[in-house]
């Protein structure tokens, strides 16, 4: 399988801060790839490097087989981008912006444009100044999805959308996947990632902390077990892979490493099990483990970068 996006040992420095620190990211062709990470982890920086807007200080990056910086113009005909913070021209209408961005990219499908405006319930005659954050986001989404390209780079595209629009967004992404197109989706909305993504990369402090399918990621973490038995359970704490044993109103609760689960269950049946629940870790838990187990060092690199450059 070929890679739509591949970076290896990608480095980006803002002054003395290493915003990206040997980042490896592979997005396969035809998949929806979730890109998760706390604020300031380097998600937006990565996407901007993949677009050639920022220059890399080290490592390799290839997008659709091309160099993001050198081949920017030809590459950009084959992809569409929704920025995280959509800034538009206040005196142009949403419809005008959609056409401008679509046609500067190399063309958009008018039928699709109509259908998307309908689906996202966007009024294209309003001036961008008058749009709310959610509506500006919709303008960028319609502009991107109305172009039939190979790759979509979406940077937190649904922040500001209401739940109905969130559903519409998920439907559109499913259709795109069905057509064999590739999506890199940076997101904080875990339900969205669980619903859409084939594979996920979790990035922390400029490094890929974890990458794989959700099932693979779950495998790396602990399952919560609730058990009731006729008599008291002995020897549980001595079993390898068992953590955090705590008494419940009726029975015990503890966490088990995925690879130790079988042995632990064999141990439990000795004590006459009357009730048992095993809960796989939710994405939230997965996420929280990665975010809070290793507190992010240093300040937010993006903020530091702009203050170093003498921002307003």
């Amino acid at each position: 399988m070929t890679a739509a996006i591949s970076t290896s040992a990608l480095v980006k420095r803002f002054g003395t801060v290493r915003a990206l620190d040997d980042l490896d990211l592979t997005v396969r062709e035809g998949e929806v790839h979730g890109f998760l990470g706390p604020n300031g982890a380097g998600k937006t920086t990565t996407i901007r490097i993949l677009l050639g807007l920022l220059l890399r200080d080290g490592g390799e990056a290839t997008v659709l087989g091309q160099d993001p910086r050198r081949d920017a113009v030809t590459l950009h005909r084959r992809l569409a981008y929704v920025p995280g913070d959509v800034n538009l021209w206040p005196n142009l209408t949403g419809g005008e912006v959609i056409d401008v961005l679509g046609r500067l990219r190399g063309g958009l499908n008018p039928a699709r444009r109509r259908a998307l405006l309908e689906r996202f319930q966007l009024d294209p005659t309003k001036k961008c100044r008058a749009y709310s954050k959610g509506n500006r986001q919709k303008v960028a989404l319609v502009a991107a999805f109305a172009s039939e390209v190979e790759l979509y780079l979406l940077d937190e595209p649904t922040s500001g959308l209401d739940p109905l629009m969130e559903t519409a967004f998920q439907e559109v992404v499913q259709e795109i996947r069905a057509q064999g197109r590739t999506v890199l989706l940076s997101s904080h909305i875990l339900a969205e990632v669980e619903a859409l993504c084939d594979r996920v990369t979790i990035i922390r402090a400029g490094r890929a902390a974890e990458t794989g399918t959700l099932a693979e990621l779950r495998h790396l973490t602990r399952t919560t077990v609730k058990v009731q038995t006729a008599g008291p359970i002995g020897g549980l704490n001595d079993l390898p892979g068992v953590h955090d044993v705590r008494p419940e109103r009726s029975g015990l609760r503890f966490d088990v490493d995925a690879d130790a689960l079988n042995r632990v269950l064999q141990h439990l049946v000795q004590f006459d099990v009357s009730a048992l629940t095993c809960t796989p870790p939710s994405l939230e838990e997965l996420f929280r483990r990665h975010y809070t187990d290793h507190p992010s060092p240093g300040p937010d690199p993006a903020e530091t970068a702009s203050s170093l450059a003498g921002a307003r």
Binding site: G95, T125, R129
Partner: protein, 549 residues
Amino acid sequence: MNRNLTGNAFAGTGILTRLALRRDRISLPAWILTLAALLAGFTAMAVSALPTDQDVIQETELMAGNPALRLLGLASGASVGGYTMIRSYLTLAVLAALMSLLAVTRHTRQNEESGRTELVGAAVVGRYADLTAALLVTVGANLALVPLLALAMMVNGQPVAGSVTAGVSIAAVGIVFAAVAAITAQLSASTRTANALAGSALGCAGLIGGVGNMLGRVDGSRMRVLSAWPAWLSPIGWGQQLRAFDGDNWWLLVPFATLFAILLVIAGRLATRRDLGRGVLPEHRGRAQAAPGLPSPFGLIWRLQRPTFLGWAVGLSAVGLLFGAISQEMTHLDGAAAGWYTRMGGTDRIADAYRTSILEMAGMATAVYVVQVLVRCAAQETEGPLESVLSTAVGRFAWMVADLGNALLGAAGLLLIFAVSMGLAAGAVLGDTTGQLRVLLPASLVQGPGILVLAGVVIAATGLRPRWGAALSWSALTLSILLDPLFAGALDVPGWVPDLSPFTHLPKVPAVPVSSGVLVTLAALVVLAVALSTAGLYCFQRRNLALPA
């Protein structure tokens, strides 16, 4: 309940005032000091140009007796201070008004448009707090202007009373236009439209005042103009009627104060009758689809600049018509004014000297336009929209070329519009319209290389230092204008200093015929402009974009 509401409506004014002062700690002092320096320069110029009483009388009689010249200033008796006011009052009053209206819009509508008001509005902040804070800061700036303006004249030996009146008459216009901007900020949801509406009101005030003076008559002394009724309708007219150095008509502060109060009440009423983020004027809907020409870098940039270009085109054609229409009077100039034009124009044929110096000023005005649109276009990088454009199949080079092309074609258009309007009006009073146009059109384009150099400076500054580009560009423009002999002539600077301005090197066409030496100079300026632009483009191609975090 009701009293409670009134008290709460101003809650938070103090902290917002301090915030506004902090944000303006550089820009307002810069405005105030620049205005004072300008007045000091104008006064010094008058003092050195009019060494004897005879000169003062002669020049004042000229300014009073000539209806066209009365448009520009109100003659009010024979004194050097009075003569300075004739020549500089309009400029300074307009600048004070601009300082005020920009400041008020900045702290009201601009905050609202950018969403900052919403952020502070959620804290304990009353409905009138931002408007009150903006007005307090702006009125304060105008009050600070009074002693500094007075000082600017006093250091040049002018009497204290007249100097103070002069300062008050300028600051009063500034204060009234702060209140005008308080209204226009309520009308439109757009910062630019709010500024444009207040600016148009200022233009009308200047024009009505000037027409009132033009239609007036001269009294028995032949040195004092008694203005016709339109002058009494305009705050700028009132400021002139205060007649610093000639009686000091303090009672005119009554109409100033009355108008200020009325405008404030209207602004307050409007502020309570609209939603946050909206204007009183309805927001027009636009096209659901882009016009065919829009989706290209050139089309997009032109669309963004079009209102600015049209505003400049209207303004420059009006000024061109005016300067053309007074050509007849200019051919009869003598004394100090004639001497000035002779020096500036490089010829003693006064008609040519006049046309040359006017075209040079039109060239500088056009340079202001070019810097304004280039800086605005560059701001799309730090404000964000450029991120979306450059992630489409538009390269950085193509974008910058479209940007530069737009600015320069606009500049050529403005120069020609100015030359045509001046030529048409001059032809109407002097005859031979075709001859006028044949001289003025090519001569106006000779200003081009000077403008090109400044465009190159903006491109180079944007390429090298995206976040400092705007400040660098505006400084380069201001220095180029101030160091040009038109202005630096009055300052006592070493001879090489004016050479730093590209305008200094422009040939004095049509006063001086185009020779091969002139062509070499023009070519050198073009080469410099190309070098600067190339350096800027090279850096822009190879750097990180300075996008919002």
